[in-house]
């Protein structure tokens, strides 16, 4: 301890000189060291350990200090990370992982097979309160530490999505010594193998991260070996989008997330702000129609709604031309994505014909269609936490379009808790619910009939209420097969059924955009599309 501070004192003049000479060169040259300030508009995590709960804000920040067993390339290929190699048995029930040798967590604990076992058990321990990671490793019965560098996963049933699940930040590997400190300490500062280390957390204000000088450099897509360039990252919580943008423009911060469409558009037109557009994997942003109850238990009424809602025009104006229309249930970054634009073209005449055929022939005084005295009403709860302002406006345009065909769309803005409560009580005919997961297995979560059975909290993922045995069979076979081609084919068939059911009205990819100024080398992982600052440098 004492010796370290002496060394620091001796080095101080050298560092000062280095800093000065760095500043005197080109006005905007990348430099080593320095601090990058990132401002996030996502909710502040209540726990920095993504094993606990498991939401996107936790994935964002933990990318800086925790690493997964495997990574993923842009084309969907699984890449080695903390695990260097893997093999699956013929019955798909045993996975053997060969682990990187000589890696230590930032608290000095060695990374080994036993650490992997402890992490999976941590995810599965009810006391951890894991939601996302717990689901991802649900089919893992146990992990056996064969020796220091070999971990054997025993599964209860085959899981073709296992590697994709393990690539997610919610199943990233933490120091067993860190976990042993208990939830409170581990939530405050989880310990990993990543390029940065959590130094301090000032709630509502910021988390400070410092460079891990001993970083092993296992990130498969790193553009340089060894430790990060930056000395530290200040991770600030600034909930208001306009304020974040103002802070970026005034130089208070170098990077922001969740920018508004006009800021994205401005960045696309040149200037010193650059845009990183990294759609999230898993599902697209889409409206789902509840097929379990009237009026959407009739496919003609569902198609009428889809045809009446003029989505394209709304997206173009409200998002200032910065967003691409989707016609898929999956995100465009998923290699197995299947699109069918013809299903979703606007056609008011067809909508009216379909509603006439379905028996919604009368109109009431307000111009809404009725059948047996009941109005053609669509309850549409809107999550004000998840739907940005432009998206809420888009729903209003859809409401106006659907009215022309005679639909009475009732938009109800709700906070996240109230929104989930409304869904849990089936008080909706239409809803837009984002879902992020690496790989096409998200289709099983969202559209398998199992997804209509509520979790203990009351949550269920299958908002379309699809209960189709043929679809269930395709999704079950896709998750069980070890053959990648067969898997891709099965997911294509599944997506055809889903889109043809008209329970899904795709809008666009889940927006995940970042603006950067006075920094370079920031890239996003191809797993859950979170940014990493390993290669980042600030421009002086």
């Amino acid at each position: 301890m004492a010796r370290q501070s002496l060394v620091a004192l001796a080095l101080a003049p050298v560092l000062l000189v280095a800093a000065c000479s760095g500043g005197s060169t080109d006005s905007a040259s990348p430099q080593d060291g320095g601090t990058l300030t990132y401002a996030t508009g996502d909710a502040e995590p209540t726990c920095l350990d993504p094993h606990v709960g498991g939401n996107y804000p936790q994935a964002l920040i933990s990318t800086q200090y925790l690493e997964p067993l495997v990574g993923r390339a842009a084309d969907g290929t699984i890449l080695p990370w903390l695990a260097r190699d893997w093999q699956v048995s013929d019955d798909g029930l045993t996975w053997d992982f060969t682990l990187a040798d000589g890696v230590t967590f930032t608290d000095g604990t060695p990374f080994d097979a036993d650490a992997v076992r402890v992490n999976i058990e941590h995810l599965q321990d009810p006391d951890t309160g894991s939601s996302t990671g717990y689901l991802a490793v649900q089919k893992v019965a146990s992990v056996e530490a064969v020796d220091a560098t070999h971990a054997r996963f025993h599964l209860t049933e085959p899981d073709s999505a296992l590697l994709e699940s393990l690539s997610q930040q919610w199943t990233a590997i933490e120091s067993p010594t860190g976990i042993e400190r208990g939830t409170d300490a581990n939530c405050a500062a989880p310990v990993g193998t990543g390029p940065f280390v959590v130094e301090s957390w000032t709630p509502q204000q910021q988390v400070e991260l410092v460079r891990n000088d001993d970083y092993a450099g296992l990130d498969p897509e790193a553009d340089h070996d060894g430790a990060a360039y930056l000395d530290r990252i200040v991770w600030r919580f600034i909930p208001d989008a306009a304020t974040r943008y103002a802070a970026l423009r005034s130089g208070e911060v170098q990077m922001i997330d969740n920018p508004q469409p006009d800021a994205v558009k401005a960045a696309g037109q040149g200037g010193d702000i650059t845009l990183i557009d990294a759609p999230r994997p898993g599902a697209s942003n889409r409206i789902e129609l509840n097929a379990a109850q009237a009026p959407f238990d009739d496919i003609r009424v569902r198609e009428a709604f889809v045809r009446a809602a003029d989505v394209d025009a709304g997206i173009e104006t409200l998002f200032a031309g910065t967003v691409q229309r989707s016609s898929s249930a999956l995100s465009s970054v998923e290699p197995d994505v299947y699109s069918d634009p013809d299903l979703f073209t606007a056609d008011l005449d067809r909508a009216n014909d379909l509603l006439d055929q379905a028996g919604w022939t009368e109109r009431d005084a307000d111009g809404y269609r009725t059948k047996d005295g009941a109005r053609l009403t669509v309850r549409f709860p809107v999550s004000t936490n998840q739907s940005v302002a432009a998206e809420q406006s888009l729903f209003e345009q859809i409401q106006a379009g659907a009215k022309q065909a005679g639909f009475d769309v009732v938009l109800t803005p709700l906070d996240l808790s109230g929104w989930y409560a409304a869904l849990g009580a089936h008080e909706y005919e239409a809803v837009s619910a984002p879902y992020t997961k690496v790989g096409p297995d998200v289709l099983r979560i969202l559209y398998h009939s199992d997804g209509t059975v509520p979790a203990p909290s009351g949550y269920f993922a299958n908002h379309a209420q699809l209960k189709d045995p043929a679809l269930d069979d395709l999704l079950d076979r896709a998750v069980a097969t070890a053959d990648p081609d067969e898997r891709a084919d099965l997911y294509q068939q599944a997506q055809t059924i889903i889109l043809d059911s008209y329970t899904v009205l795709p809008l666009y990819d889940q927006l995940n955009r970042f603006l950067v100024r006075d920094a370079e080398g920031v890239r996003t992982l191809n797993t859950v599309s979170t940014p990493t600052f390993l290669d980042a440098r600030v421009l002086s």
């Binding site: 209540t46 009810p126 951890t128 996302t132 005034s250 996240l416 808790s417």
Partner: protein, 318 residues
């Protein structure tokens, strides 16, 4: 005399207790009525897909498996015994969370209130000594200031003074003076507009009163008479409403702290409400309500000092 003071104190303590009971009750049932399950706050937030064992364990740990009446009575008992319990989401004592966030918000509210008074008095002085058309203009400004919403004013100030001119940072934390400027102005302007109008009306009344007329007749200057005589009458209603103003500043802090990315009680309250973190919401609202009771007591004392007619002998005459 002592009896008077004691009675005064007892009344204040009584009202504090009443406020505490009302807050705990209203918040507890309002959060239930808003829908959503507080258990999810413990398990990563709304929409949690945690397994059955995890849900059961969380409910048992925080007593959420007990009947609602029992939970309510437990909550009341804790409030009465000054135990605010643990946050569901943050898994730490509510008292600690409040201690972290209280100073920043109180600093902001106190500075904003002081600044509002400076603005209001400044405008009142300027109006009474200015030409009629300037006075009319300033009155118009007061009316607009009193109704301008915080989120709009704050956004305009950021655009002007941060993005365009670069004088002040758009975001602020702690007691950094430069960062405190824009949030303070945002909070203070509507209150200043309101106080200004009040001061105005009652100063006008006082200026027309015989004592002011005779003071001017004795040769006092307009501003001298205003400050020595009329204002003392004129500020009384504004002082009475400063307690209310302080309360409105604390509630305005929810918007202003979110807008300027400033840590504080307001943001804590907002986040806790969204995640149905019942103990934190009750704790935060309780603190605000009790602060309001205390400020009202202080206002009461100041009023007695300014207007000795209704005062107890303990009051200090200015």
């Amino acid at each position: 005399m002592l009896v008077g003071v004691l009675r005064w104190l007892l009344a204040r303590i009584g009202s504090a207790l009443l406020v505490a009971w009302v807050v705990a009750t209203v918040v507890f049932f309002a959060l239930r009525a808003a829908g959503g399950d507080p258990t999810e706050a413990i398990l990563g937030g709304p929409g949690s897909q945690a397994g059955p064992e995890a849900v059961a364990a969380a409910r048992a740990e925080y007593g959420l498996d007990r009947p609602l009446v029992v939970q309510y009575l437990n909550q009341l008992w804790r409030v009465l015994t000054f135990d605010l319990g643990d946050s569901y989401a943050r898994r730490m004592p509510v008292a600690e969370l409040l201690r972290e966030q209280l100073p920043g918000t109180f600093l902001l509210a106190v500075v904003a209130l002081a600044f509002a008074w400076v603005l209001a008095l400044g405008i009142a002085t300027a109006t009474s000594s200015a030409r009629p058309w300037v006075g009319g203009l300033l009155r118009g400004v007061e009316v607009v200031a009193a109704v301008v919403p915080h989120f709009w004013l704050g956004a305009v100030l950021i655009l002007l003074f941060s993005t365009t001119l670069g004088w002040f940072p758009a975001t602020s934390a702690g007691s950094d003076p430069a960062g405190l400027v824009l949030p303070t102005v945002t909070l203070a302007v509507p209150v200043a507009g309101f106080l200004g109008q009040l001061i105005h009306d009652s100063v006008a009344e006082a200026e027309a009163a015989p004592f002011a007329v005779s003071a001017r007749a004795r040769g006092g200057s307009a501003i001298g008479v205003l400050w020595r005589h009329s204002l003392r009458h004129g500020v009384l209603p504004a002082v009475s409403l400063s307690g209310w103003a302080f309360g409105s500043l604390l509630s305005g802090a929810v918007v202003v702290e979110t807008l300027f990315g400033r840590p504080g009680l307001g943001r804590l309250l907002l986040d806790a409400t969204l995640s149905r973190d019942v103990p934190v919401v009750i704790g935060a609202v309780l603190v605000v309500a009790l602060a309001y009771v205390v400020v009202m007591a202080i206002v009461d004392l100041i009023e007695r000092a300014l207007d000795p007619r209704g005062s107890t002998p303990t009051a200090v005459v200015l």
